[in-house]
Symmetry: D2
Subunit: 147 residues, 4 copies
């Protein structure tokens, strides 16, 4: 995961920069993408008061949004435009105000234009709080950024 | 789905009011819950600029957040505190800036303390854009609102 | 669901006949497909002793196999070769020796070459025992049966 | 994964023996459980002619049945009776007649009585063909085998 200067790593960094610059949703939630690599992304987010649900816990939708962002950056790291077609999420532990979550996304498999990407979301103590399995579809002949 | 005054309907309305009053996440996204009934909830949300991802489309996470809210209100409509344990989502059509989404959630089955709730999300033209299947767990002996 | 003689219905019946004739797996499990229609299939199966798991209940894999068969016949009912890419299953009630299960599959949505098909599995008392949501991919330019 | 003689390993081996002796479904499909350990199981199966679907490929239901068996043995390896409540499956590559599949199941998380178990299914060349994520529920106070 080091910033080695392979062409694949350079491509991943260019795709991240291009996507993040336009990703109002992720920016608005305070999501950062501190690490990107071919088939991999790490995204972080700190739980704010406006992310709490009626039980005073982080609304599951925001946890999934973080995971979905990590998933999108990992899938598009080869600069081939790839969209989410669906996902499965398992909520394992409650997430609370002020928690800082880290979502690690790894592409597990690609078969033709379909792919599967696993995301593990942990809190600041390293406890696994949510697992997401994302499904993707690569659009033919479209790049994230024209290089 | 009319506001008939059965005890179950009254309970559902009380649970909705209590949950919504504290649900900063849903309120902050502009989500409304115009209809509630036993085992059923309708939630609506209009897509704002801060919900768009790097491709200029609504970030899938926000669509799921809307669906998850509808799911939570439907599951808790009997005033027994019920939490989401996971969900499966299928993104069928892109959602764009200004679209108004309606998420209809219906409890499909309960088996002991576990439940399944289906959510269909449509846009203002009535086109199905996302399907979510939520899984829930009812906490023993806890009410949403003490009546 | 009647055997009306629209061209779509005729096509669905031809596709069913062609698929079933070669489907050793479904035939071997005693699965029947008594009803087929455009985007719809009904499949039935009776639980045999060789379908029971270590707890004396029907192995969940066989319930899914029945649902997957119904899903496949519903998706291919337009005679465009369509494969399963995945599925989500929820086991709601135990299934026992001698139970006769009915799996009703309905195509819910198609978006380009991807599709979603819901299957509800009920026992002989009409009790919902399992829900399956199937995901499909239509192979370009391939028919189930050449007509 | 060695057969060390920790009490947990001994328990896992006893649970496997007790479950397998009564698991007519798995035995009938030729499924073997060559490795068991706390929170882990390896199950194998060779594709027979009676497992092929109408397209001449292994019916997805049988791949899931293999994965579901591995999942069940991994979840019950601590001798606390645990049932599957559902699963998500992703079919990545076709499986053919004569292929020998290996399904490795690992418990990923437990939260109260709910758990998540991931299963990776590979063919004889080590190619990943299917991913399954199983969800489980531990029955209170019931053991697989009384020791």
């Amino acid at each position: 995961m080091t910033s080695s200067t392979t062409p694949e790593q350079t491509l991943a960094e260019h795709a991240r920069a291009a996507m993040y610059a336009k990703d109002a949703a992720s920016v608005g939630l305070g999501i950062l993408i501190p690490v990107i690599a071919p088939g991999y992304a790490l995204a972080t987010m700190t739980i704010r008061p406006d992310m709490l649900n009626g039980f005073g816990l982080c609304h599951g939708g925001f946890i999934i949004t973080l995971a979905d962002t990590a998933f999108a950056f990992a899938c598009n790291s080869n600069n081939q435009m790839t969209l989410a077609t669906g996902l499965d999420a398992e909520f394992l532990k409650p997430v609370e105000l002020g928690d800082t979550l880290s979502a690690e996304a790894r592409v597990q498999a690609r078969a033709s234009r379909l792919g599967v990407c696993d995301v593990a979301v942990r809190n600041q103590q390293g406890v696994l709080v949510t697992l997401v399995r994302g499904r993707s579809y690569t659009v033919k002949g479209k790049q994230v950024v024209n290089l």
